[in-house]
């Protein structure tokens, strides 16, 4: 008894949550119009606004994220660490010093107390590492089957120093593009434990708080124009977002992008492209060319930036698009992720 629907989506699909094009469309069509305001329309990792009406004085950064990862514990991290670092990083990506977090738990009935304690402990450790405090929260318990064990939401507040203007629309032609380290680690670490795909990967999630790295970079240079952490949708999606927001072209060099062997191997086996696999402890920085080497050096001397490399540059053409020079010297367009990445045999 088939539904007579057209291939148009009238339902929310998993793909709407994958961070790619459908996610962007969902936001643009369903959330922005009814709630429209200039702060929301910035569409950066965090909302930035001044406390005073006239826009002067201290500026706050404010962000929120929900974490629904399965499994809850994976090599290199867990949902708790992810929830703290993800929100800390969203604040750091607008140049803010992260200060306070809220934490809301939606717990599936039957979750073991030991599991919950482990998550809470992990959040404490991550918060301590990031130098933030969890100051408020909420707990709800839902019936069995209504949550994958545990869903966590964190919201975060930070302070943006005067003069710091970092955002997706600020890339300029000639800027250097710096990537803080290898891509795909988190996505593959999580995937390797999913049902139906079990394999052992020597790859651990890279989940980490990047505010220390960002602070070091901003201390070294006043010419950091854009910061972005390539989470869902991967590096490709983040670069496309920036190219579109800044109305510039982006060219990157495939041989310059660090990828761990285990990540590449897992991607080859499953038919994934590492450019689209999620990262939770990496950032992309778009920096004025005069400061690129200086920022790179500082990154390499700072925790979580040791493998930083310059991977490309911002160009005028083609506007809104990302091009990549491949290992063998060809050129291809790198699109935003479409739909979910699914393992393939072909």
């Amino acid at each position: 008894m088939a539904k007579r629907t057209t291939p148009e989506t009238s339902k929310i699909l998993l793909a709407h949550g994958s961070g790619g094009r459908l996610s962007h469309e969902l936001v643009a069509k369903e959330f922005l119009p009814p709630w429209a305001n200039p702060i929301l329309d910035q569409l950066n990792d965090s909302a930035v606004f001044a406390l005073s009406r006239d826009g002067t004085g201290p500026r706050l950064a404010f962000t929120t994220d929900s974490y629904v990862v399965k499994p809850l514990f994976f090599k290199g991290g867990d949902i708790g660490r992810l929830a703290v670092c993800g929100t800390v990083n969203d604040l750091a990506m607008v140049g803010a010093k992260p200060l306070y977090l809220s934490a809301s738990f939606v717990i599936e009935e039957g979750l073991s107390l030991a599991t919950m304690r482990a998550v809470v402990k992990s959040m404490r450790q991550a918060a301590a590492e990031a130098g933030v405090q969890i100051v408020t929260g909420d707990t709800k318990v839902v019936e069995k089957g209504a949550a994958d064990g545990l869903f966590v939401n964190t919201a975060g507040l930070g302070l943006v120093p005067a003069g710091v203007e970092i955002g997706g629309g600020r890339a300029r032609v000639g800027d250097a593009i710096i990537l803080s380290g290898s891509i795909g680690d988190h996505g593959i670490a999580v995937l390797s434990q999913r049902e139906g795909l079990e394999f052992e990967a020597p790859v651990a999630s890279d989940v980490a708080p990047l505010n220390g790295l960002v602070a070091a970079m901003l201390a070294a240079s006043a010419n950091v124009h854009v910061l972005r952490d390539p989470t869902r949708g991967g590096l490709a999606t983040s670069l496309n977002e920036i190219a579109q927001q800044s109305r510039v072209g982006i060219r990157i060099d495939e041989p310059k992008i660090p990828i761990k062997d285990g990540v590449w191997a897992a991607c080859e086996m499953l038919g994934f492209d590492p450019l689209y696999v999620a990262n939770e402890g990496k950032l992309v920085a778009i920096v004025g060319p005069e400061d690129a080497e200086k920022v790179l050096t500082v990154m390499r001397e700072t925790r979580y930036g040791e493998e930083a490399s310059i991977i490309g540059e911002v160009t005028a053409e083609p506007e809104g698009k990302v091009l990549m020079k491949t290992t063998i010297g060809g050129t291809r367009i790198v699109h935003m992720l479409v739909g979910e990445m699914l393992p393939r045999i072909c």
């Binding site: 079990e198 394999f199 052992e200 990967a201 080859e268 086996m269 038919g271």
Partner: protein
Amino acid sequence: MCLAIPARVIQIGEQNLGLVELGGVVREASFMLLPDVRLGDYVLLHAGYALQKVDESEAEETLRLLSEMAEAWRAEA
């Protein structure tokens, strides 16, 4: 079509099941299509099955030809 990737056989168990390794990633594989496989062989892995052994001497030969091409190009450039 089809995605198949060279992987090294690191364990052969019962019922034609075993483990293969590529880039540090370890996965279970079935050797039902390749029962005479041996430890240390490289096989082409597709959808969890080993399809064929990688002929290493042919691989080396192909790579030798390719590196001649590379040398020739470098010499000209």
